[in-house]
């Protein structure tokens, strides 16, 4: 099964396993050194798309991930502006992937970070993610496709990296200006962050290495099941082991099911939240982090999915769907079931003829 050693994914896993816990030491929220879902949610809040006052901050890690992937793809000849593979369907997949992630409280990256810091409530999420991916793989085998993209102009491909730069400008404006429309949390997870420079450098570094390695939490499981190919899975295993060792060394490893930072121990909804994310992201072709990287490489459909994630965060908080350490909300089950129904119907109905 592990026929060939997957150098770059393992390098990416080790890099992530070292950098993420370090960012917690530098000030990021507990078990949340880097989280694509949580951090996009914070950005959504900072821009006023939701008004949950405790989760508002323009996370430089996200900016760095996109720009790092952009620069790396330019150097490696991987920058290819492309568009047109069912963007609206991807937008909705992004919305539901975010809702599922916020019911669980984390993207697949953070799921592994939570586990490696001893948060055993993540195990239900892992099971949910795997089941979600298996359902997605079932649809892929049946011929599910969102259709082909086409090359588009360079200017269009630059839009996401440009948006990242604009976000950085807004971050500086929010930090230094008076009475700006940018909202920053004064308490709660949104107020906890490493310094801008450290966060940005970490994001740039990870963005470049994830671009080179194609690191993806969905592909890790999907390719193992679908293709008997453990290339990316090796990277995820490296991440889990490295993050565990680093958390242990830094004194951040606290085993248990309860009292974990920014997490709840509702097994059923941890499972179903991640299952929803798992299906949505398998249909979309990659985890939220991977979508950020792709959007930096010129894949504007991935950029549309990222927009869906940001809007999904707004919906999740405005409609009271996002969980808190106290548990899930009253409205969350309905949203999760609507999301599952959407993904399953799309999985059945969206097809392209195969050879």
């Amino acid at each position: 099964m592990f026929k060939r050693f997957a150098l770059w994914p393992v390098v990416a896993g080790i890099a992530f396993g070292v950098v993420a816990p370090l960012l917690v030491v530098f000030g990021n929220p507990g078990n949340m050194g880097v989280c694509a879902a949580c951090f996009l949610r914070d950005i959504s809040g900072a821009l006023g798309f939701h008004s949950a006052a405790v989760v508002q901050y323009i996370r430089p890690e996200i900016i760095g991930l996109i720009v790092g992937a952009f620069i790396s793809s330019l150097f490696l000849g991987d920058f290819r502006p492309r568009a047109g593979s069912s963007p609206l369907a991807r937008f909705f997949l992004g919305i539901f992937a975010m809702i599922g992630a916020l019911v669980f409280l984390g993207c697949p990256w953070r799921m592994w970070l939570r586990l490696s810091a001893g948060d055993f409530s993540a195990i239900a999420g892992i099971a949910g993610l795997v089941v979600g991916i298996l359902i997605g793989v079932f649809f892929l085998k049946k011929g599910f496709s969102l259709g082909r993209n086409r090359p588009t102009s360079k200017a269009v491909g630059y839009l996401m990296p440009l948006l990242a730069v604009v976000l950085f400008g807004l971050l500086l404006w929010g930090m230094n200006g008076e009475n700006t429309p940018i909202k920053f949390s004064l308490k709660g997870p949104g107020s906890m962050h490493a310094s801008v420079l450290i966060s940005l450098i970490a994001g740039l570094f990870l963005g470049a290495i994830f671009q080179k390695s194609r690191f993806c939490m969905i592909a890790a499981v999907r390719d193992t099941v679908l293709l008997k190919e453990t290339h990316i899975l090796q990277g995820v295993l490296a991440l889990i082991v490295t993050a565990f060792v680093v958390n242990l060394a830094l004194g951040l490893f606290h085993p248990g099911f309860t009292g974990q930072p920014i997490a709840h121990n509702d097994t059923l909804w941890n499972f179903l939240g991640m299952a929803l994310s798992g299906i949505a992201l398998t249909l979309a072709g990659g985890c939220p982090g991977r979508q950020l990287i792709l959007s930096g490489e010129g894949d504007t459909d991935a950029g549309v999915l990222v927009m869906g994630l940001i809007v999904g965060a707004g919906i999740a908080h405005n409609f009271g769907l996002a969980s808190s350490p106290a548990g899930i909300t009253a409205n969350a089950p309905v949203a999760v079931f609507v999301g599952l129904a959407f993904c399953i119907l799309l999985g059945i109905m969206a097809k392209e003829k195969r050879v």
Partner: protein
Amino acid sequence: MKTIDVRGLSCPAPVLEVKNVIDSGAKEIKVISDCGASTENIQRFAQNAGFTIAMKKLDDDTTEFILTK
């Protein structure tokens, strides 16, 4: 020789198409692909399936693989 065009398909569709053709028993396959992750995936998958790969760059964005067993 069987020819498949996987340009513009997002992962894992390109490698899945190649797998389907390999599973159907084809010994000679021409794959037209654009660069990026799918190109690497196709090469890796074909190698693992015991194919030899001849690669030709058609232009900046298009690569042609001839897979033979």
